[in-house]
């Protein structure tokens, strides 16, 4: 895991170099440029990792909730005292350094969830425990949402994988999937068309299943619920979502082609990645990268640099590295004896997976543009520190698994 971590960090550092590359500051250690600064973040992150390794493993379990509540306080503080960068009031500026509490809230919440689920014999059928769990998630999510950083707020949905592993009915996942499909269909077509299609499917199902009253009632009931959902989609879309969210979704679905505004980012991203071909244009030779056509290229769209300069081969390597890391985390999590460790491990994988999947999907035009970084690779001190902490806590817990 550590080697995979280091590999990704290195890739990130090199890509940032290419993305920000300025002929006048050619040294990768140049502190005035992003890549120099990233180096500082990397070094300090490694230092943090070391600190964590040296800490007693029991510390994390014991202090899970205090850390969590501390983070909540910080999140409230940033709403009051924080600075606004790019429209989000999510930053503390200390000297020349900017820190983003939302990043750190991720591992704090993970600790809290792991602690909570491992202490009681939590039953997903118990409304009270489910409720408390949701509150642990909703609290930071809401506070981050208030910062106007929608992307980071949505991250907490990732915990659904943790719950699934711990016993939540799989039906929830399926319901989630169906909701998303219906949502998209309704936006692409009109509600009436979708309801009619649904009706046809239900009729077909009637032919294939056991025709007893119970099944028919359930089927009819579900049909009604889904129809209601479909009808509410447009209303929710127009009223619950803000303009730029709507635009991004529309651009994604192809309803709008806004090449200048919201669509510009994705279009440039696709152009950069797509023009990479099989083997890419070579290090520092990416024209879209070099000439700054992709916005946010060192942060959210860092994958474009890889895509353009290293082509399909390079992109596949990155995807592979991430998948490998995730699978490794799951396997290590499974062999934990302590519930706390296992649940925490799943949390790490879920959070990383969410970032990885959404970020890359965004660059490939498969998901609306929301601002979340690619872990370990994107430029940013807070992000790198927070993910490093997230991962190394788990590494630490794992190294003591035999002591559970």
């Amino acid at each position: 895991m550590v080697s995979l971590y280091l590999a990704l960090v290195l890739v990130g550092w090199i890509s940032i170099y290419s993305a920000i590359y300025d002929e006048n500051h050619q040294s990768i250690f140049d502190m005035s440029q992003g890549y120099g600064k990233q180096m500082v973040w990397i070094v300090t992150a490694l230092f943090l990792a070391l600190v964590i390794i040296l800490t007693d493993f029991k510390f994390f379990s014991a202090f899970a909730f205090p850390i969590y509540f501390f983070m909540i306080l910080i999140l409230i503080a940033v709403l009051i005292f924080g600075s606004t960068i790019s429209g989000s009031k999510s930053w503390f500026q200390i000297g020349s350094v900017s820190l983003q509490p939302a990043e750190f809230a991720k591992f704090a919440t993970n600790l809290a969830i792991a602690k909570y689920l491992s202490t009681l014999n939590v039953n997903f059928k118990q409304f009270k425990s489910v409720g408390k769990m949701l509150i642990i998630l909703l609290l930071p999510s809401l506070l981050i949402f208030l910062q106007n950083d929608t992307g980071s707020a949505i991250v907490y949905v990732a915990f659904i994988f943790v719950f699934y592993r711990e016993g939540m009915p799989g039906a929830i996942l399926i319901i989630g999937l169906i909701s998303v499909v219906l949502f998209i269909m309704t936006l692409l077509l009109n509600p009436v068309a979708v309801i009619i299609t649904l009706f046809v499917i239900c009729v077909l199902l009637v032919f294939f299943m056991k025709r007893n009253l119970q099944n028919l009632v359930i089927l009819f009931g579900m049909f009604l619920i889904m129809s209601a959902f479909i009808l509410s989609v447009n209303y929710a879309f127009d009223n619950a979502l803000e303009q730029h969210h709507r635009t991004r979704i529309n651009v994604l679905l192809g309803i709008e082609t806004d090449l200048k505004g919201a669509g510009y980012n994705v279009n440039q991203s696709l152009i950069a990645i797509g023009s990479g071909g099989l083997t890419g244009k070579g290090f520092l030779n990416g024209t879209q990268t070099k000439y700054n056509f992709v916005p946010e290229q060192s942060t959210d769209f860092i994958f474009c640099t890889v895509g353009e300069e290293w082509g399909f081969a390079g992109s596949l390597v990155i995807v592979g590295l991430f998948i490998a890391l995730l699978i490794r985390i799951i396997i290590v999590a499974e062999r934990q004896r302590s519930n706390f460790a296992r649940i925490y491990g799943y949390g790490v994988a879920s959070i990383l997976f969410f970032h990885f999947a959404v970020n890359i999907a965004m660059t490939l035009g498969l998901f609306p543009v929301i601002g979340i970084p690619l872990p370990f690779v994107s430029y940013g001190g807070s992000s790198l520190w927070a993910f490093t902490i997230l991962l190394f806590i788990f590494i630490k817990l794992d190294s003591y698994r035999l002591n559970a």
């Binding site: 799989g170 023009s275 024209t287 879209q288 082509g311 992109s315 995807v319």
Partner: protein, 607 residues
């Protein structure tokens, strides 16, 4: 602990989801990176800027090697509206020197043309202004400067012949895709006729730009770049000094002068008056000046030398005589009596002793004489009827290139008019017309129309005693540093050379005889031959025509002068023609007093 085992299977689902997402990404990546070309093209579009390298347009020299047209550098401000983001409009307007409304209007125009393609924002910024702007232009993404050349005329003469260039129109682009919007193309005169020679070949520079449209270097080290090829220079047959002299002589008069070198058909001077300074029609000022010139009631843009048609009047006698001699219906000694100013059916313009022979009738321009000559041709028993005889006569006239065009490099011309027999059939009824009916033709009036160019060519034919080279403006084109001379085919009339001698004698006597209509302007240093023509004009005063050539043997210049509404042929046509011939043959000569008169004469009040 028990739950641990119970749901352990679920790890497979979760890992499965990870792998599926990974595969989806791999597939998508494969599609956009390997299979789909679209993004490579878009990437190039973003990054590559195709900058046209404009070649120098060919220069134009006169026959003595003097420069008539050259190029001057100017700069266009180009814009791609889509790339114009977040600029300080006020500062930009101040930099370029336009106001905010103009800016908005121009941006709208550019956007209407295309938001993605380049178009001209501001035309022809001067060299000095360009340097100042270029420095600061990086602040305004989407704008850049394109250098180009304008035409300049060191001697403001021959505007009609040289023509002018202007921006290519959408129709012209459609006809020839070599042109792109913003290119220049010859619109009239030599600029148009020799467009393909003069324009050279555009070059291309492909450079890479960043998101702010700043140039970052050559694409692929310039292996796809092409150098522009300069246009070919032209050597025109005009003598610019003679041309300028003639334009001065024709100042404040309407009409034209055409001078040709008979041995080659090269046009020495082509003057249409009123004329204009060719420097008026270049660059930014062209539109405005063109409109003003167009609206001028004296029509300075109209090239009278090539397009204005007049009845040839008495000058036509020089065509009739050879035809009659060739047909054998008269001899040089044949006489006809003349009743003077009261003669019938054709009056003579003045009283003179009678009878005259063919030669004297030219010297003194006797109308009744030539009416009789014409009658003889048309009533020739050799032909079955009037119509047949007329067709024969017409074919002679056509062989002098009257009623026809030359189709050389002049770009525009009119054919004049020699009526077809069908015309008279229709007007009078078939078989209903005789020589008497069409008698006006005998004195060069009636339906007969010629252009000054055709008239000059006629006198060139006489000078050559029976043939001509089609008149043309360009004698050589410089290609690959080699002067390629244009060759034209000699054209013969239907009249043998010996039948021209009497005409030549008559024209000689016009200057040198005691009764010659041009005797007042005889010059001792040159043997000139000429013929006056006074053309009746129903709208006002008669037009003054004069044709001449010199010297009598081995002639070097043939000239035709038309001065509208000037009265008698000898009043203006003769002195001007005489001065022109003297200027060309002698260069420096003692100026007779009437030169000054001609410079100063103004007939504007008659127009």
């Amino acid at each position: 602990m028990i739950e641990n085992k119970a749901y352990e299977g679920r790890k497979i689902v979760i890992i499965g989801i990870f792998i599926v997402i990974g595969i989806i990404f791999a597939a998508r990546l494969f599609y956009i990176q390997v299979i789909n070309d679209k993004y490579v093209l878009s990437a190039n579009n973003n990054v590559l800027r195709y900058i046209t390298q404009y070649p120098a347009r060919g220069l134009v020299y006169d026959r003595t090697g003097k420069l008539m047209v050259f190029n001057e550098a100017a700069y266009d401000l180009m814009v791609v509206p889509k790339l114009v983001k977040n600029i300080d409009t006020l500062q930009f307007c101040r930099l370029i020197g336009i106001d905010k409304e103009a800016f908005i209007k121009k941006m709208k125009k550019a956007r209407n043309y295309s938001p993605y393609k380049a178009s001209i924002f501001e035309e022809q910024i001067s060299k000095e202004h360009y340097g100042y702007i270029e420095e600061k232009l990086f602040k305004y993404p989407g704008f850049w400067v394109q250098p180009r050349t304008l035409r300049k005329y060191p001697i403001p003469a021959a505007a009609h012949s040289l023509g002018y260039i202007g921006e290519v129109s959408p129709m012209e682009i459609e006809a020839n895709p070599y042109y792109a919007i913003g290119d220049y193309i010859g619109k009239s005169g030599i600029e148009k006729a020799y467009e393909t020679e003069l324009r050279g070949k555009k070059g291309l520079k492909i450079s890479m730009v960043d998101v702010f449209n700043r140039e970052k270097g050559s694409y692929q080290n310039g292996i796809y770049d092409t150098l522009p090829l300069a246009g070919n220079d032209l050597y025109v047959s005009l003598d610019v000094e003679l041309q300028a002299y003639g334009e001065k002589l024709m100042k404040n008069k309407k009409g034209s002068i055409v001078a040709i070198e008979p041995s080659t058909g090269e046009i020495l001077a082509l003057i249409s008056s009123p004329t204009y300074d060719p420097n008026l029609l270049i660059g930014r000022i062209r539109s405005k000046n063109y409109n003003e010139l167009y609206a001028d009631s004296l029509k300075p843009l109209f090239n009278r030398a090539l397009l204005a048609m007049y009845p040839p009047g008495s000058t036509f006698k020089t065509v009739e005589a050879p035809i009659a001699l060739q047909e054998g219906v008269v001899t040089p000694a044949t006489t006809f009596s003349c009743g003077g100013v009261t003669a019938s059916p054709i009056k003579c313009s003045h009283n003179h002793y009678s009878p005259l022979n063919l030669i004297e009738a030219i010297e003194q321009s006797c109308n009744p004489y030539y009416w009789n000559v014409f009658r003889k041709i048309i009533e020739n028993k050799k032909y079955a009827n009037t119509r047949e005889a007329y067709i024969n006569w017409k074919s002679y006239v056509n062989s002098f290139n009257l009623g026809m065009t030359f189709n050389t490099d002049l770009n525009i011309e009119r054919s004049g008019n020699v009526p077809a027999p069908e015309y008279y059939d229709k007007y009078f009824g078939k078989g209903q017309w005789r020589s008497m009916t069409i008698r006006s033709l005998s004195i060069g009036q009636g339906e007969l129309l010629v252009t000054p160019l055709q008239l000059c060519n006629v006198v060139a034919i006489i000078a050559n005693r029976g043939y001509y080279y089609p008149p043309h403006l360009v004698r050589a084109v410089s290609r690959n540093k080699v002067r390629e001379v244009k060759e034209y085919e000699k054209k013969f009339t239907k009249v043998e050379p010996r039948n021209f001698e009497p005409v030549v004698e008559g024209m000689y006597l016009a200057y040198n005889g005691s009764h010659g209509t041009a005797r007042r302007y005889k010059m001792d240093s040159i043997v000139m031959c000429g013929k006056t023509g006074t053309v009746q004009n129903p709208h006002g005063e008669n037009h003054s025509l004069f044709i001449a050539f010199a010297p009598r043997d081995n002639p070097r210049i043939a000239i035709a002068v038309v001065v509208e509404n000037a009265g008698y042929g000898s009043a203006y046509g003769t002195p001007i023609a005489t001065l022109m011939m003297a200027k060309y043959l002698l260069r420096e000569f003692e100026r007779p007093t009437y030169e000054e008169d001609m410079f100063n004469a103004s007939l504007i009040s008659r127009y």
